[in-house]
């Protein structure tokens, strides 16, 4: 059984994430597809947090009954590490592109005459 604070923690995080996603969607900085994806993802997190036995049910239904909750969370952790790695790589690439763009802009034009 999940302790109550884990449930509250998950609910609060989900509320923040979904509301943030909704604000971005309203501000047209996020597409409808991304908004729905994040909403469904966090809804799934809340459902698992509130009803953890659902994982056992899904595992039993899919024929992986012996895997257990620990295995699922272990796989989840590995998946999250992979996501963090991918975000790091992409962030690095974006930062490098931004740096190059700003450097090119800085050296373009008549900086020699601007005295």
């Amino acid at each position: 059984m999940f302790p109550i604070f884990v449930k509250i923690f998950s609910l609060v995080l989900a509320a923040i994430a979904i509301s943030k996603s909704y604000v971005d969607f309203r501000a047209r900085t996020e597409s409808l597809q991304m908004f729905l994806l994040w909403t469904l993802t966090w809804a799934a997190v809340v459902i698992v947090a509130l009803f953890p036995t659902i994982v056992d049910f899904i595992l039993a239904y899919s024929g992986s009954g012996q895997a257990g909750l620990g295995t699922v969370f272990g796989m989840g952790l590995v998946f999250l590490l992979f996501v963090v790695y991918r975000i790091y790589v992409k962030l690095e690439r974006v930062e490098q592109n931004l740096t190059k763009t700003i450097q090119e802009l800085a050296l373009k034009g008549n900086w020699l005459e601007k005295r």
């Binding site: 740096t99 450097q103 800085a106 050296l107 900086w111 005459e113 005295r115």
Partner: protein
């Protein structure tokens, strides 16, 4: 102060990456010599997204100013300055801090050492003249020297010095791309990778309250170490 914009025979470009240094930049520029042994000295300030008028103050003091639209970090600003110096076809490129930590009067020593050496690069070393250096900084510099050695395979007395002189040919062989403070260690790594001749020259550092506030902090140090370690990981 009138300075030549077009290179006349041999020139020295002094690059100063600056972020919100409006209160001190004019004083630093005014102490840069206009010639060194017949070579024209051109100060280039890279205004790294300042919002306090650093660029205008530098321009009013006679420096060429290249401006980043947003703050990229001291490494990126230094690289932009190096590219500006290459466009000017400067023969010698000097980098120094804009916060007054380095004595502009010592630019001549670095340049002469480079020319007379002959060396490809001269590194101003605060460790070789540590008078007045806070003990914490001394220790931190030694630690960063060790990490620089671990990542780049080269030991120098002051791997984190921002006060350096390098010839145009040597700079052309370097591949610098660090955005932050790790640019100093990357510079050492490029000296090693290209087999360049270098010398560490003692320079005094001015540890005023202002320069200590503007200089590297603990978190910058952590970022610097993480940045270097990530480079090490990427190379493996």
């Amino acid at each position: 102060m009138s300075r030549p914009t077009q290179p006349v025979e041999r020139t020295v470009a002094v690059i100063m990456p600056a972020h919100n240094e409006a209160s001190v930049i004019s004083g630093v520029i005014s102490h840069i010599p206009s010639t060194i042994d017949g070579m024209a000295v051109i100060p280039i300030v890279v205004d790294d997204g300042s919002d306090d008028g650093t660029g205008d103050a530098a321009r009013d003091s006679g420096a060429l100013v290249v401006r980043h639209l947003t703050n990229l970090g001291v490494g990126a600003a230094t690289i932009t300055g190096c590219r500006a110096a290459e466009e000017l076809r400067a023969d010698i490129i000097v980098t120094m801090d804009a916060d007054g930590q380095h004595d502009p009067g010592e630019i001549s020593s670095l340049v002469r050492c480079l020319v007379e050496g002959p060396f490809d690069a001269v590194i101003g070393s605060r460790i070789l003249a540590p008078h007045g250096m806070p003990l914490s900084r001394f220790g931190a510099n030694l630690l960063l020297n060790a990490i620089t050695f671990a990542v780049y395979g080269k030991v120098v007395s002051d791997s984190q010095s921002g006060f350096k002189a390098v010839s145009r040919e040597a700079l052309g062989r370097m591949k610098l791309n660090a955005s932050g403070y790790e640019i100093c260690s990357e510079f050492i790594g490029e000296i090693h990778r290209n087999g360049l001749r270098y010398k560490s020259l003692p320079v005094k550092a001015v540890y005023s309250r202002y320069s200590q506030r503007k200089g590297q902090h603990f978190l910058n140090g952590v970022n610097l170490i993480l940045g270097m370690l990530m480079r090490l990981v990427r190379r493996v």
